[in-house]
Structure formats: structure tokens, C-alpha cells
């Protein structure tokens, strides 16, 4: 859930490697790297991947952000791989470059082959950035994907039909109900009684923080959000770095409110924490929706299998499982969720979000203006 676009520096995987000579990493499949080299299921295939002797099976390489496959609390990656491979007689290789989607943008710019067939985990903002910075297309139109019509219309964020949403989160306040009752409106946050009480991840450098910034723009307009932030800053809001910086400072009791996700109680419940300390507040009864999409790379070597994968992800039982494991909300109307999920994972009375067209051409200016006002020394 934490997008972790923060610490990353640049991409990860590379096929041409001297690993062999150094006696490290060795040959064979070593995880996210060396995809598409035709090596299948050799060597150190660990438990958790039931590739078996997948001699001639096709390989699907899927790029994503690392916490989808490798985070202690949220990683549907292993489950998805296992299920997909069992059913489709194919091998699924996760690729998790450290600078995530930008890695593929770099590859396309440099004219280097993209080994991945699909990418999982891009949001509206990402898509706008890609389209503005690349002359050649990075993603292809998704085409005929099973279950595509089941996606909630409000979540569709790509007007050009490349990205298909597979889940969504709602950005909200999370507050410790034992020490404060969060205000119900944006304006309420400006009350003196909440001075120094709110922590938010950095709007310039994190997806979570940026969603919160966009929500204030939604609320106050492009002409008014800077004034609101000026008041918020006067009331001692704390803008920290990564989502993790913000959330851990909040957990440590540095402030009673934090900008995070409306599924917070799901985690709290899993950790047997006091739910009273993990209450959710939708300011102005709204939650900013941050749908995550998946798309097929232009020039993918296995586009048909990629389409099958996208359809697989949209299936009702897979949608439910991803939502639970990724602690988000499903993107489809047909998802099968456990009955008690809705009790802990809260949906806002009114979801709001900016469309692709609204963000295009505007978002970078909004962020820059905010930076220049907030960090002015």
C-alpha cells in the first residue's frame, strides 16, 4: 500500500551480468532478474513458486512496485504467481525495478528492449507523466480483456483504454481516537485545537501525499489550495518524507492524526491493535480515490498471455483476494469479498478524484507551486 516511490534511485534488473564469474547469484533463475532468457525453473526455485518442470511453458514478465510482492504486510504477488501459473501452464516472473515505472520509461527513451509484458500498479498521475515525457507509446491498448466491463465506471482513469484498474485506495485521515476526535471538514483542520496534530507524507514525493494535495485542490480549487495550505502550515501541519516516515511518526505518538488510507483498521485488526486508536475520518465526507491500474507494454513479446493475465486479475475471486492481501478495495462490481471486510475497510460516502484530462498539463504546476510556497526559505 505504501507506494514506496521514495527511497528508490533507479532500475534493478539486467540480463547481461558478470554474476557467474564472481560466483555470486550464479546461474539459473534468480528472482526478478534475467527474465525472458528462456531459463525456466532451474536451480534455486524456492518454495512458494510451483513452476514444476515447466519445460516449454511460456513466460510472462510483469513489472510492479516492490511492496506488491515483497512487503511483510501487503504482498499479493506470491499468491497471484502461484494461482496464475497453476492454471495457465505459464511461468510468471515478477520484475521490481527500484524506480518502478520510470525504469521502463528510461528503457524506452534509451531504445533498450523492455523485457516485461505488463505493468501492475500505475495510477493516473503516473500515466500522465509517462505520456508527457515519451514520444513513443509505452503501453498498448488493452484490447479484449475478460471482465473488463465489470470495472466500476468511476474508477476508469485512462481515456485511451490502455490501463485497466484492478484496485483502488481511498486517502483519508487516520486518527488515534483515544487522544483526539478528528475534525469533520478541511476547515476544521485549521482550528487551533488541532495545531501540530496532523502529519502527512510529502505531496511532492509520494503518491499518498500527492493524493492528499490533489484532494485539497479538488476542494479549494487551483486558485484556493495554496491559501489553504498556508493556513495549514500556520497550524503546524507536519509534512514528512515517505509514507512510512509519516505513518511511523504517527504510530510513535508524535501527532494524533496522519494522512493515510481508509483501510487502516484492516491492518490494525490483523495485528490485534486497539481499533479505537485507528479511526478513519473522511474530511467533508469525501475520500480521494487513487485507483491502481495495469497495462500491457507496447511491443510485449507475449501480449496474448498478458491479456489473459489481466483478465485473470479481474475475476471475482482474484479481485477479492487482491483487495484483502493488498488491503485495498476491488475495482470490479463483481468482486467476492469476505463478509466482514466492509466492517473494517471503510469506503467514503463520496469518492472524489481528478481525471486524466484534468491532471494532464496541470499536476506538475500544482505540485511545483505548492513546493515553492511550502519550502520557501
Amino acid at each position: 500500500m505504501d507506494r514506496r516511490r521514495f527511497l528508490s534511485a533507479a532500475g534493478a534488473t539486467v540480463a547481461a551480468s558478470f554474476a557467474g564469474c564472481a560466483g555470486l547469484g550464479g546461474s539459473g533463475e534468480t528472482s526478478t532478474g534475467e527474465p525472458g532468457t528462456g531459463e525456466t525453473g532451474t536451480g534455486e526455485t524456492p518454495t512458494g513458486t510451483t513452476t514444476g518442470d515447466a519445460g516449454g511453458d511460456p513466460t510472462l514478465v510483469v513489472g510492479t512496485y516492490s511492496s506488491l510482492v515483497d512487503s511483510p504486510s501487503t504482498s499479493p504477488g506470491a499468491w497471484l504467481k502461484e494461482r496464475f501459473e497453476a492454471e495457465f501452464d505459464a511461468r510468471l516472473v515478477w520484475q521490481t525495478p527500484s524506480n518502478e515505472l520510470n525504469h521502463y520509461v528510461e528503457r524506452r527513451t534509451a531504445g533498450v528492449d523492455i523485457e516485461a509484458d505488463a505493468y501492475v500498479g500505475l495510477n493516473t498521475d503516473d500515466l500522465v507523466r509517462v505520456d508527457q515525457n515519451l514520444d513513443e507509446p509505452l503501453f498498448a491498448e488493452a484490447g479484449d480483456v475478460a471482465g473488463r466491463d465489470d470495472v466500476k465506471p468511476g474508477l476508469q482513469f485512462d481515456p485511451r483504454g490502455r490501463a485497466i484498474p484492478y484496485d483502488t485506495g481511498y486517502i483519508s485521515l487516520v486518527f488515534d481516537g483515544t487522544s483526539v476526535t478528528a475534525p469533520e471538514t478541511f476547515d476544521g483542520l485549521l482550528n487551533e485545537e488541532f495545531a501540530g496534530d496532523l502529519i502527512t507524507p510529502n505531496p511532492a514525493g509520494t503518491a499518498t501525499g500527492r493524493a492528499f494535495l490533489l484532494h485539497t485542490i479538488k476542494q479549494f480549487g487551483a486558485d484556493g489550495y495554496l491559501d489553504y495550505w498556508s493556513d495549514l502550515q500556520d497550524n503546524d501541519v507536519r509534512v514528512l518524507g515517505s509514507w512510512s516516515d509519516a505513518y511511523s511518526a504517527w504510530s510513535g505518538g508524535e501527532a494524533p492524526m496522519v494522512v493515510s488510507y481508509s483501510t487502516d483498521q484492516v491492518y490494525a485488526d490483523r495485528n490485534d491493535a486497539d481499533l479505537q486508536k485507528h479511526r478513519i475520518r473522511f474530511l467533508n465526507d469525501q475520500g480521494y480515490a487513487n485507483p491502481e491500474g495495469m497495462a500491457i507494454f507496447e511491443g510485449a513479446s507475449n501480449p496474448d498471455l498478458a491479456r489473459e493475465f489481466l483478465g485473470f486479475v479481474l475475476r471475482p475471486e482474484v479481485q477479492g483476494e487482491i483487495a484483502v492481501r493488498n488491503v485495498q478495495f476491488p475495482a470490479t462490481t463483481t468482486a467476492e469479498l469476505p463478509g466482514d471486510y466492509a466492517e473494517l475497510a471503510q469506503e467514503p460516502p463520496e469518492p472524489v478524484t481528478f481525471t486524466y484530462d484534468e491532471l494532464k498539463g496541470s499536476v506538475s504546476g500544482w505540485v511545483e507551486d505548492w513546493e515553492r510556497q511550502y519550502a520557501s526559505n
Binding site: V14, F18, T30, E34, S71, R107, N133, S248
Partner: protein, 619 residues
Amino acid sequence: MADAIEGGTEGDDGAPADATTSGDREHRDSRSLRGRLERRALVALAAATVGLLLVVFYYPVATVFVDSVLVEGRLTARVFFDILSDPFYFGEPARLLAGDSLASVVEGLLSPDRRLGIVGFTAYQAALSTVASVALGLPAAYLLARFEFPGRRTLRSLTILPFVLPSIMVAVGFVATFGQRGTLNAVLGAFGLGPVDLLFTLEAVVVAHAFYNAPLVARVTTAAWESVDASAVETARSLGASPLRAFRDVVAPQLVPSVLMGAALTFVFTFSTFPIVLALGGFQLATVEVFVYRLIRDLEYAEAAALALIELGISLGLLYAYLRYEARHTVRSRGIRPLPRRPLVPSSPSLRALLLRVGLAGYAVVALAVFVAPIASMILASVSGPEGATLAHYRFLVERQTTGASFQVRPWDAVRNSLLFGVASLAVALPMGVVVAVLTTRDYRGRKLVDAAAMAPLAVSGIVVGLGLLRGLVFGVEVGGTRLAVGGAVAIVAAHAVAGYPFVVRTVAPGLDGVDRTLVESARALGAPRVRALVDVELPLVWPAVVAGAAFAFAISIGEFSATVVLASGTSQFTMPVAIERFIGRRLGPATAMGVVLLVVTTVSFLLIDRLGGEDVGF
């Protein structure tokens, strides 16, 4: 050459020793293959070092920096001009470029509501951090170099431990120590004081920077102090100098260059600080690197590259100034008998001795709060859960090791990789550093410029290095239809060595410059090739500096993140810091448990390096 013995200033070292090689001796040497190899060893090593730097550092970094002057295929200085004339970045001085008069700029700078700009503020917080690091580092050096007490060597080996800790761990430790519900407030509360609100301030950031860098100052100063020749002090004392006078005239001049080096490096590191500022300070304290990072994330490469180049230019300018100073203040020494250490418990209680111990005790309390408490808090966090003490986070590590999928980071693999990369890159960085130290202590015009350029790996923005390695090495270049690309373990080791070797240069070069030339001359006259004289004569004389440099190079490798994630050919090549980053989740337990693993592994490694390095090897 005779004047070199007495000389203390740049320019009179005489010609490089190689030039004096007589034809006769050359003939004798060339009869043995070993002799031939040894004569060429230095040249070959130098060539290899330059080659490695070009491939693994200068070329990759250039692929990013070029974006600042090459916009849409056209050469331009526009991006730089825009940044330099932007008050947001350069504060009042930026108005100079916009055409304002010098007088109005000076007036602006003197007014209370002056704008420093992001660059000015970054320099300001780096300067504060440097002062704090020196203030906290010097007493530690004094204690370690001048006193004898049980555990002294262990403590000395562990001084640079903070250096390897990922910022996320330091943030956890600092919140748990200095936060509103932190240890400090608990202690203050017990005395009926407080609570104090220290976090998310400039002060918190400065203290965290001191946590990282005071150990650096302490370590290099300790090495210098241990190299002070006791006989010089004794001579001064026998001539009637008071202890204070002897310190001022004999000891201090030998320490100042090291202290300044520690200070210069601290400034450079804190000038490009990034995650710690946002984790413990907040965006209102954003530094240049925060913007470089954000711009690269948003693919705004021209502005990012220009900003990173300006950042680099300022850092290298400062390093160059320091190197000029260092060259003019070389300490000549001949033969080394270290100063005897005093017992921590004074043998004869005098008022002076007592005051000194009280001062040291006061320092110990501060050091305990700044260095030990955050580390202890990290360890505590790794065994804490919502319901009190737990080993669940360590169980997670074991579980991930035994059942983790191939695309997940496994803890033991990360430990093994870190150690292998650390040892291998140390083996590369040491000869690289020594060779560059030899080259830059020779006498030729502009050698300090070369020296400063050789320090660039310390000063370049981490995100730029990462992007450069991706473009330059991982993507490679196309030659005749085939793509030459480099990645994997060898590339990681090379990148780590490049990142760590400047420390070897900086610790070894001053000592090497100070080695009595006549010793080298004698060795050469007796037929020793240059490299033999270096290994047999010079290096033993500066051995404490070599060990300190080695420890730093190893530490850099252990803590390295951005190059590792880019060059690794898969999760199986990830190291401990990458594992920590990957294990961050809703709760920080698993990440902190991995952090404690890093702490333990590094502690053992440092103790080993120090023991292998020996206390008095080579004399």
C-alpha cells in the same frame, strides 16, 4: 632532494622518486620477472583505477548531467541561468543575475527577512551539522587516543558504526529516543522536567547529522592523534614548554588537518542530505537533494541535472579549498612512537585531573544520549509489538529465509551478499585509494584539482549515480550491433569500491605526504622498485590511516543502497540495506529486526578489521 627533508610546503618535495632511477639499477631489476612486475605495478594500478572510475563513475554520471545542457538536442545554458537567477534556489544573491545592484542584494541579505534560498539553506544546515559533528567528535577522539581503559580498542573499532545505518533505522531510533513519548522525555519526566518537543525541527536534523558524522570526525582525528610522535612532545617539554604549550605547538598542528578533513567531508555529506531531513525535520527544511530527487521522479531531467551539478560544484569547491590547505600543512614526521595513554582513573588525584574526568563524564552522558540511545531504541523496537515484547519480527526473518519466494529478499542471502561485496570492494578500494594517494601527493601543477575530481564519488547526488548507472552500465552502449552492458555482482563490487576509495585516499594521503622522503630514497637506492618502497616503507608508517580508510571503505559498501538496487541482476543479489527497505510495511518491526542483523554483522566485521589491522603493525 635534500631540501625535501626539511620542507613543509607544497612545491619542494622534489621530483617524483622514479626519475632518479639509475640505468644501472634498472638493468639489475629487469633480470627478475618479479622486479619487472613490481616496477610496472604502480603504473598498471593507476591505469586500472582511472579505467574503473571512467566506466563505473564518470561516464555513467555524465549521461545524466548532460541533460542539463542538452535540451531537446540543443546545447544551452538556459537551465543553469534559470536556477542561478531564481530566488527560490539562490535567495537574495539570485537577484544579481536578474540585474539588481550589488548594494540592494547586500541590503537584502542584511535585512531580517532575507531569503537564503534552498541552496543557501542547505549550506546553512550543513554548516550547523558540521559544527555539531566536530563538537561531538573531538572529545571522542581525545578519549580514544589519549586514555587507556578496558574496551578502548573495541570502542574505537565501533566508532563508525552509525555510518552504515540506513536512514530509516536512524529515524526510528530518533523518534523513539527524542520523540514526545521518547526515552529522553521519560528520563526528564522522572526528574520532574520536560517534556521537550525536539522532533521535526532543524535541531533534530542537525543532531541526526552529527549522529552520522561525528564518528567520522572522531575516527580520522583519532588516527592522526595516534600518529603523533611522542619524542617531539617530549623534546618540547624538555625545553621547558608547558603541557598546554606542547599541545598547541606540537600536537595541535598535526591534528588540525584531520579535523578539517572530517569537517569538510561532513559538510559535503550533509550538503547532499536527503531522507533524514524529511523524516526528522519536514518539508519546510527541504534541501537541494530533496528537489533533485523529486524532479528525477517526475522525469524533469534538465532541471534535476543542473541542480545536482550545482550541488556537486559547491561540494567539490569546498573539498578543493580543503585540499589546498592540506597541501600547505603537511606534517613531516620521521619514526613513530605514539604518545603514551593515560589511565582513565588518575593515578594521582589533582584538581586538573579531576576536572578533566568530570568533563569526560559529561561528554559520556551526551554521547550516550546522541549515539547509544537511538541505537538501543532500534534494538528495542525490533523486539516490541503492540502487546509488549515479542520475537515475531525475527520469526518473520526466519520465515522469509525458509519460505520466501525467489523474487523476495531473503535475510541470510542479504547478509552474505553484503559481506562478500564488502570484502571484495575493500580489496579493490584499498589499492585504488593508495595509488591515487601516491599520485596526488606527487608534485605537479594542478594535482589538487585532480585530487578534488577523484573525490567526486563522495559528492555526487545518490539518485544521479543510480540513474547514471542504469543508463551507462545496465543499458550499456551498442557497439557494432551488440549491446555491451554490465551488471551483477562484479559491477556492484566496482561501484562500491568507487564509492569507498575516496576515504582511503583522504586518510592515507596526508600521512603519505608527510613520510620522510629520505626513507623512500634510501629504499630506492638499495634497489627497491617504487611499489616495494611503498609497501615496505611508506604504508607501514601510515598504517593507522590505512586501517581507518579500510574501515570506511567497508562501511560505505555495507551501507550502499542506490547503486546496489540498480546493478543487482535480481533479488538474490540484494544487500542488507535493500532488505531493510523491502521489509518496511505497516509496522516497522521486520525492518528494524533486519536493521539489528545489519548492526550485529557490521559490529563483528569492524572488530575483525581492527584486529586484523593490528594496533602497531609494521614497526
